[in-house]
Symmetry: D3
Subunit: 218 residues, 6 copies
């Protein structure tokens, strides 16, 4: 399991004291703490370093090329990504929307030996076709076709979520690396609220797809 993130999250704060640099460092530490809780080692976290809030203005070809490189290196069995073009993404014009399309674009391009060929002739990489996909959205879940029972992992996930202090916790307006116990409990409660229930079970829903990346949307 590898996590590839596009931006450093260095913009999204309401705390007037934080700088871009500080925010990027805080977000990284929060991410690593959460991943550690989930048993994912720090070197499985890859952040491509783009500036928060400006991803859609970066050169698309260059971003796709970077993602293709990681797909060809990591050769994942399954890609988890925002569902491109979904109702929420359609309106949500921002880094999330851009990320959804860029991930789909990269999955498509990575499989062709004759695209971004420099990676193959110069870096010893080989083309790779991701065989399976789990797309998620956080809006109307209209296209979901697979639900995973996460009952056994709810506590783990809630704990992991409680590390994102600068983003979802009290640090949003006034960052403090050491929240009080009460604040931590509130973050956990909120995280729990966010988890959906289906047929009495805690679940995550996805649009599962298997096949040629070109037909991801079918």
């Amino acid at each position: 399991m590898y996590i590839v993130t596009l931006t450093t999250g260095n913009v999204g704060t309401q705390d007037p004291k934080l700088s871009r640099t500080q925010l990027a460092e805080i977000r990284r530490q929060e991410e690593l703490a959460a991943l550690k809780d989930l048993g994912i080692p720090a070197d499985h976290y890859i952040n491509l370093g783009y500036d928060d809030g400006l991803l859609e203005f970066e050169d698309r070809k260059a971003v796709v090329e970077n993602l293709v490189r990681w797909i060809r290196k990591l050769r994942p069995d399954v890609l988890f990504a925002w569902d491109p073009g979904k109702n929420y993404q359609r309106w949500h014009k921002s880094d999330h929307r851009a990320a959804a399309y860029l991930a789909a674009d990269a999955a498509r391009a990575a499989m062709w030996r004759l695209l971004f060929e420099g990676q193959i002739t110069q870096e010893g990489l080989k083309e790779f076709m991701i065989p399976e996909y789990m797309f998620y959205d956080d809006f109307d879940y209209q296209d979901e076709n697979v639900w995973v029972d996460i009952s056994d992992f709810v506590e783990k996930r809630v704990n992991a979520d409680s590390h994102y202090i600068s983003q979802f916790g009290p640090g949003w307006k006034n960052y403090n690396p050491n929240p009080s116990e009460a604040e931590v409990q509130q973050m956990k409660a909120q995280a729990l609220d966010f988890i959906r229930t289906r047929d009495g079970k805690r679940i995550e829903g996805f649009r599962y797809y298997k096949g040629l990346p070109d037909a991801i949307g079918k």
Copy 2:
């Protein structure tokens, strides 16, 4: 109430005699005449001056930056804009479609102190989060959730509409700044036809949204 328009409308005519310059000047005069009828002063009309029909080819970052500046200056209580990603917008690949996304992008960016920061450190502006939104479309109205009874304003609106001679009136093919009384009446009749009715009342419909711009599409 301020009107921020992106293009000058200097292309859309079927009159073979009009130049880009003339058309831009005519469209401006028509707009100001309509606004006057509605009680909106001329200096509340801001036109960013982009060329008609080519908006989607302009540098997106630069356009968003311009819109962010105006949002931070005017600090509106409500933003009225085309609904981005709506069915009609989805297909309508043109200035309207571009404008819908650009407005949503700018609303999102304007709230972050660390985005387009030059406006803040150099121009004395402050970040600003638009709190409420009224999105409109002119296709299937499928996402409308608010209808405003405009019965008392129908005449005002029809009068205002009758100023757009070069765009909707007889001036489309053969521009004449002084239409005949019959032509004016026809424009007004057409404008009236265009106004929708619901439960026996003349209305305008919107998708109303209140909250974080990031979730505009939810």
Copy 3:
């Protein structure tokens, strides 16, 4: 009947022996053979020569300008194109998606005398409004409103399809310009399978539209 294609198809192969150049040449010959079967002369096939898989990274204004030139030259009664923004296109982030939007953009721009005016003042072309449209998709056919009975042309079409050896036939993994009779039969069977049936007849479905290009999506 003219065919305007954007890319040369010089990337999409799983045959490790083919180069970009060879693939482009093969694809062209396959296309011309298919068109010949349909009675369309070779000089009615126009390929704009863009690289396969990278169309969305080309300068959009330059591509639209090229398409506008061909619309103004050929002055078609009807445009056949992928339906932009359709569900399939929405997700299918690739050359097909780009082509759908670019075709709609070009149809819109071609009608204005004051857009891409160099073509008019320097090349003797005139603005042109395509009056009718037949949009197709290959996903859920949800917006189709016209079905054409193609029963009499099924054989012709199947024969034409059987020429695309490098794309749909055995040449996908191991290109051979001379497939065996059995392979040809299999390609034909597959092509036949792909043709839809409605009310017991072999059909092609379209979203038919007539009117101003600006309202293509209505």
Copy 4:
């Protein structure tokens, strides 16, 4: 002899009455009249239709691709172009400067079979290496190495120059397609003044280069 021009000249006027369209048409007629005087037929004049004053903002790859197409079609023995990087060009940041570099870029790219290959696989063109070059500048002539005695053509040239009424003549501030005889004489006198003299002869000077385009600057 073919003339390939990049822009339509539709901006450069001080006459407040002229529109972009009118200016483009006037400039074209002036050019054709001048070429006729020189014995060059109208269909040897190719204008790529870019807007005046904005050439450096066009997508460079697309412009070079267009020029490469013309080089491969016309297959010239000699290219006449502004000398790129010359002192004057170095400072003269405008269409002239852009044109100088674009011409050199296109000359270089046109010779490679594997560049802009769509022109070769789809349009029946072949790569072409321009063998000889005559570069000109209008500043300090410091790099000139060839001078052509044009004594016998001075009258022809002066006559040709006298057609550029909107650009060099009285039409600059107040365009009139039919200048008076006195005005024509003044334009001719001015054109004659502009022609340089060397060793008592009327001349044109050039930097002549023969060889691989890659070393144009050596």
Copy 5:
């Protein structure tokens, strides 16, 4: 006298404690303090807010359009700018180099009624041709043709220079808004050293140019 600056200077520091925001604010205060010493009011300082060190990656057309707007607003008698294409600028690939070319480009574009016409039809501005130019460089001064005796202003200038603490003073590595008297003296000494002498007089040298902006480089 108006000062138009392109970037906020928010990158160039060796002090590890400063953020982009802080640096931009410090630089602005230093600039205003210096201008005050010279008798230039704060509202004559216009900073376009671009990020330091990244100017050459901004959309050139958008930056030129912004500069053209200011030229048409301020209508200067003389433009002071880095000399574009000069030996130093030729090598100095950075914001300074970009600024030199952008200023020349904007000076050229501002004079044409038909360029960036939205400013004219929508904002009440008029085209404007800057009549005179004073170009400076800080390398070999090879093209200087005018020297101004600044003997009477040396003290004023040295005082003004002493405000740039974060850029030239002790603040470069460890910013302190209140330098010691010794530090201020050292900054002043350094500023004095930087002023050139010619024929026994303290001078500033320029390449003076008067005429059409198109021929700035002649």
Copy 6:
């Protein structure tokens, strides 16, 4: 000693049989063979994989960012690069010219902690200022200020040069990986010819520079 190359050299051949892929692979093998002769291990050769002949059309910011990453990783004592803006580079509009500027740009950007900061906050890199520079050109050598006596290395260099069969040898028109002994001798003779002599010694000349990258051109 590390070699960072921007393009794969996959275009520059006159052999009609070679594909882009084959050429890229051949060029890589030739480079590695040459480096081996010089005692430089294969993993010190870094090729960024851009397409030959199209470097100037790539997104400049993305290329500079890649180069900055390598500078911050390798932290070189000295940068060897084409001299940007030199007379030859000024005219030589091609990958070489682009490479010269991009190297200088990257050297400049790499030293700032606040530029391309994602590399620092996410990848564990630190800003780095290259302290010394050796710039080379192959035109008029006018700015050279340092000459290195390479007498002892002439044979090594000639041997290394003899590996570039596809570029300088008989493979230019008809590639053969195993040239005859006579052909190898001719390549060596040619390579020897290319080495300059000064004061009776075989030399390489450079423009040596030490100091802030911002003043590289001084």
